[in-house]
């Protein structure tokens, strides 16, 4: 029976294409996402419902789907063609809600659930459920041919429209029914144009037309078909005629159609030609449609990259900001400066360095006043300054990242669905920052402690203690570029010089430079890990929504492979 051999190479490509499409849903808002997603679902549906099953079983009967508008008389036509009522008819729209497949009893083996339209449940009794497919063996149905009465394409019932689209995509042949009142409607023509663009085999039936108007309407319809690429398709006309008792048209009204179906049933070559036309047309349309999906997927990739970059940039800027502010000397003003001067001594800055009198006096004073020793108040001042600074930069970064997201529709949608928290620093950040700064200060003290392990006994080390040297090191860090920018050379430079001298006197200048560098790198690393957690909130929202990079490219490759395979495929 078969003239078309199983095209294994092509089939493999199609299966891979299907898998690739399955793996890449559209989740981000983009101008072309809706189109891309529609095309993706339509390709997937067509592969599952038609192309792959049809390629596996090329010898299965030809499936003619009777589709068209609501009220155009599809069911009446099917019933009249078979000479008995198999599908519900009536004046209430939409009449047909579930699909009815009529076949010759001899062809029953071809329509199991593992064949065409696998996701429709097979039934043997009318249910009205759009998810079911009623299988009706009818003696009067010509063998090698099956008729599927589909719901309408344009009714108010959305599920009907979806099902109709799915069924039409699974057809070897469309028997598209329209009427005198319908033939210029936009919705059915959208379907017909799609069929024309895929070279699907189509026959149009102009139904329910007053005999007087048939001439005029059918010639206009023919013009429209010519203009829209359906010039080669057959056009049948069925005059509006009185229905028989059980609602059937008189046999002569549908005789041309019946004859044509019979001839298809008898002529295997003609039938195969129809199947080939539609199947090849469907496959031929795939590369271009795949390319469309691929380009939409590339947009998805670009958007996810852009969203990621927005976040990364915002936090990188914030990191630079913190790094600058903590080394250009600006930290060394206000509270910190006052505490530093208090710590170092009073007017004579070097007093503390040269003698222990100043220290002693400071200790006495703080003991008498009940205030904490200067080193501790300085630590606290540094902590609160740094904390305010880091929290503010975190706020700015979150704001900037959210602003970036809001400028893209996809980002705006993500912000909306994720709640309002993303535009701000995270809730527990202040406490987190506090802990981080304390840890950093602790590690600076550790650094000083281990560096000074062998200098424990020197007078200077003892005079300032680990705490004193630790804060001096912080001062040095905070002013490490002050001299470079020149802006803060006065106060901050002075402060830093004193601290530097003090540290050099204890550790030597080489060690001081190294310590400062290590401590600063440590601070930056800690801020960076804070930022990582802040960014993670954005990434977590993005995580489930992004398309893995390279998907578009892979799909495009498959499309090209498909074009090549299509041309190498020849029927046996």
């Amino acid at each position: 029976v078969t003239e078309i051999g199983p095209p294994t190479g092509l089939l493999t490509v199609l299966v891979r294409l299907r898998q690739c499409l399955l793996d890449s849903p559209f989740r981000l808002d983009a101008p072309d996402a809706a189109d891309g997603d529609r095309e993706r679902s339509s390709i997937l549906a067509q592969l599952d419902d038609y192309v792959i099953p049809r390629m596996v079983q090329v010898e299965a009967p030809l499936l003619a789907v009777v589709g068209g508008s609501t009220g155009a008389g599809k069911s009446t036509l099917v019933n009249s063609l078979l000479g008995r009522v198999v599908s519900r008819m009536g004046v209430l729209r939409p009449t047909t809600r579930s699909a009815v497949l009529v076949h010759n009893p001899a062809d029953a083996q071809w329509f199991g659930a593992d064949r065409l339209l696998p996701d429709l449940e097979r039934t043997t009794r009318p249910t009205g459920d759009p998810g079911s497919l009623l299988l009706l063996p009818v003696e009067t149905m010509p063998a090698g041919l099956a008729l599927l009465d589909a719901p309408d394409v344009d009714s108010v019932e959305e599920r009907n429209r979806v099902l109709a689209g799915q069924l039409l995509a699974a057809a070897d042949l469309w028997l598209f029914v329209t009427s005198a009142a319908r033939y210029a409607d936009q919705v059915p023509w959208d379907y017909l144009k799609a069929a024309a663009s895929r070279s699907t085999a189509v026959a149009v039936v102009l139904d329910r037309t007053e005999p007087a108007a048939i001439e005029q309407v059918s010639s206009h319809l023919e013009q429209m078909m010519q203009a829209r690429g359906l010039g080669d398709s057959r056009l049948f006309t069925v005059a509006e005629s009185p229905l028989s008792g059980d609602g059937l048209l008189p046999p002569e009204a549908v005789r041309p159609i019946r004859k044509w179906l019979d001839s298809l049933s008898e002529d295997v070559a003609a039938r195969t030609a129809v199947i080939r036309q539609t199947l090849e047309g469907a496959i031929a349309s795939l590369p271009a449609r795949t390319a469309l999906v691929a380009s939409a997927l590339t947009t998805q990739e670009q958007i996810s990259v852009a969203l990621r970059v927005d976040v990364v940039d915002a936090y990188r800027e914030a990191l630079d900001g913190v790094a600058d502010a903590t080394q250009d000397g600006t930290m060394l003003r206000g509270e910190v400066l006052a505490r530093w001067q208090e710590f170092v001594g009073t007017s004579d800055l070097f007093k503390g360095l040269e003698t222990r009198v100043g220290r002693l006096r400071d200790r006495l004073v703080s003991a008498a006043r009940g205030t904490p020793p200067p080193a501790q108040t300085l630590t606290v001042a540094v902590e609160s300054g740094l904390q305010t600074l880091i929290v503010e930069y975190a706020e700015t970064a979150a704001e900037q990242a959210a602003r970036g997201w809001r400028s893209l529709p996809a980002g705006a949608r993500l912000l909306e669905t994720s709640g309002s928290g993303l535009g701000r620093a995270s809730r527990g950040l202040t406490a987190e920052v506090e802990r981080t700064i304390r840890d950093w200060q602790g590690s600076v003290l550790d650094m000083v402690r281990s560096e000074g392990a062998d200098k424990r006994t020197t007078a200077r080390f003892l005079a300032y203690g680990v705490n004193g040297l630790g804060v001096a090191l912080m001062m040095v860090i905070f002013a490490s570029t002050a001299g470079v920018t020149g802006a803060e050379i006065g106060v901050a430079g002075g402060t830093a010089v004193v601290a530097q001298k003090l540290l050099e006197a204890v550790f030597g200048d080489q060690a001081v430079r190294r310590l400062a560098m290590e401590a600063r790198a440590d601070l930056n690393a800690r801020v960076e890990s804070l930022w990582a957690e802040e960014q993670a909130r954005f990434f977590a929202v993005l995580e489930g929504q992004q398309t893995p990079p390279g998907t578009g490219e892979r799909l495009r490759g498959l499309g090209e492979e498909l074009s090549a395979a299509r041309f190498t495929w020849e029927p046996v």
């Binding site: 209430l92 108010v156 210029a184 329910r208 005029q216 206009h220 502010a325 503010e392």
Partner: protein
């Protein structure tokens, strides 16, 4: 009397509508740039249309026949006109442009506004040779629209345009197409709020048997109810046979006679837009800022403006001046060696770098705010916006937040100017300084006099001259009194006035602090709270306007 009453009620209706329209306009203006631009655009279009319609005569009622191709709009139109005006045929789509037929004179303005070209307008009275007055339809402007579902997209656009303008919409359904998504999803469902100005017609019932017709009409009613149009009048007609046409005609006559349709239509449009705006605006109340929160904000800005630095410098400078003015004269010069902390900041106590508002204010040499201080200002401003906008709907909260930080960049400059224009302290020296100074000189003079006297006495005794009479007081010689007393009192006076000067410096510095902070508070009000207030005002205006627009 009844005519007068009708007229009066009609006028008051018109007034009421203009008020609501104005209220909606206020609300839309307030929401502009703050709510979804698409929504605002819709609202603007509605406003333009409504203004256009109420400017025109309410004596006319614009009725549009809309429906699918082949539903028999044109046949109905011809039936109602009693003329064969609209082309009727089997070729689809039949009607390509809007055709208008007016009953009674004066419809020209209305038709112009509708954009129906003159060649598609028919004045019924002049078109009919026989005079058939139909007084009950005087004022009717009947439109036959093109279809909304054919392959001709230009027809869809024309229908969409006129559906927005007509006073009464007659939806013509038919047995084949009454369940089409094209009419339900694109028109009927979105127009559910306009049920008072719509009529549905089920045409072509002649094609069905009477039982089937009743079933189909009931089914159409079910679909309309699903669209939210359960109460819609549904008339079964047959344009060819004439069933139901008189019913439709009398329904139209009723509406024409009431002359309420244009009003009801505009009112429904206003309701529709106002509801949509309302759902975006919500009903949250902006939170008033507590005194403490405002103080925190001012405090952060004051810190960034260097107020504490200036105040400390003022106190120090005043203290130095006091001790210079009232210290012990021989050592007074010592304190001049120390720099004046105010001068270091390029400030003077009598201050103000610019003395009046017309003089451009130079920058003071205050240290520019550190990142930490700037960060504090930013944080405080954000917190303020959060507090105020906490219960506002998202769109308004976003615009409030944006407004709060919009002028943050200018705050630093403004603060610097604000600080520079404040008079820090009274330039005039306090009166007691001169008294103390005079007293100091007097005491010094006494001490010098005593010293000279003692020196003279010593010289005399050295030369062996007879000592002159030595006046004593309380058993000590007077010159000794003069010298010691002058010196001791001088020191004591210096110490006392130093203490007094310190206290007064502190007091005056505190006053300067108050003045500086109030100046900073002005900046905060202008650059931070001002923009926030603008947003809140807009929000409240919008809400008030919407409430008024929705009030019947």
């Amino acid at each position: 009397v009844t005519m007068l009453g009708t007229l009066r009620s009609r006028l008051s209706r018109r007034d009421d509508l203009s008020t609501r329209l104005a209220a909606l306009e206020t609300a839309v203006d307030a929401a502009r740039g703050r709510l979804d631009p698409a929504l605002i655009r819709d609202a603007d279009e509605t406003l333009t249309r409504a203004h256009g319609r109420i400017r025109l005569s309410p004596e006319h009622t614009i009725v549009a026949l809309a429906g699918a191709t082949g539903s028999g709009k044109s046949s109905l139109f011809n039936r109602l006109c009693g003329l064969e005006l609209a082309a009727v045929g089997v070729r689809r789509p039949t009607t390509s442009w809007t055709l208008a037929c007016s009953w009674g004179p004066g419809a020209g303005d209305v038709l112009d506004w509708l954009g129906v070209p003159a060649r598609h307008q028919v004045d019924r009275a002049s078109a009919l040779d026989v005079v058939a007055p139909e007084p009950d339809l005087q004022g009717l402007v009947l439109l036959d629209l093109p279809d909304h579902d054919s392959t001709e997209v230009s027809h869809h656009l024309e229908v969409e345009r006129l559906v927005r303008l007509a006073d009464v919409l007659v939806w013509v359904l038919d047995p084949q197409k009454y369940a089409d998504a094209a009419v339900h999803e694109r028109f009927l469902r979105p127009l559910a709020s306009h049920r008072d100005v719509m009529i549905a017609v089920f045409n072509h019932i002649d094609e069905l048997g009477s039982i089937a017709a009743a079933e189909a009409v009931a089914d159409a009613r079910r679909l309309l109810a699903a669209d939210g149009l359960g109460a819609l009048r549904l008339i079964a007609t047959s344009a060819t046979r004439g069933d139901g046409v008189s019913e439709l005609r009398s329904e139209l006559a009723k509406r024409v006679e009431q002359k309420r349709s244009s009003h009801v239509r505009v009112s429904a449009d206003i309701d529709n837009v106002a509801r949509r705006l309302m759902s975006a605006t919500g009903s949250g109340e902006p939170t008033a800022l507590s005194g403490k929160q405002r103080a925190e904000l001012v405090d952060a800005c004051a810190g960034a403006a260097g107020v504490p630095v200036v105040v400390a410098a003022v106190e120090e400078a005043l203290r130095m001046r006091a001790s210079q003015a009232t210290g012990w004269p021989p050592t007074r010069w010592l304190s001049r060696l120390r720099p004046d902390p105010l001068r270091r900041l390029h400030l003077r106590p009598g201050m103000t770098l610019g003395t009046g508002s017309d003089v451009p204010v130079a920058r003071s040499s205050l240290p520019s705010p550190t990142p930490v201080q700037r960060a504090r200002v930013g944080t405080a401003v954000r917190r303020t916006a959060d507090v105020v906008g906490a219960s506002l709907p998202p769109a308004w909260e976003t615009s409030l937040r944006a407004a709060s930080v919009a002028r943050l960049a200018g705050v630093t400059d403004a603060l610097d100017k604000a600080v520079a224009t404040v008079q820090l302290a009274d330039e005039r020296a306090p009166r007691w300084w001169s008294w103390v100074r005079a007293l100091q000189w007097l005491l010094l003079l006494g001490a010098v006099l005593g010293a000279c006297w003692l020196a003279a006495l010593a010289g005399i005794s050295y030369l062996g001259l007879p000592p002159p009479g030595d006046p004593t007081w309380l058993s000590l010689p007077v010159p000794t009194w003069l010298l010691l007393g002058g010196l001791l009192l001088g020191f004591a006076l210096a110490a006392t006035s130093r203490a007094v000067g310190r206290a007064s410096a502190r007091r005056r510095a505190r006053r300067a602090d108050v003045r500086l902070r109030s100046s900073v508070a002005d900046v905060v009000d202008e650059l931070v709270l001002g923009p926030i207030q603008v947003e809140i005002d807009a929000y409240l205006t919008c809400r008030r306007g919407l409430a008024q627009a929705l009030k019947r």
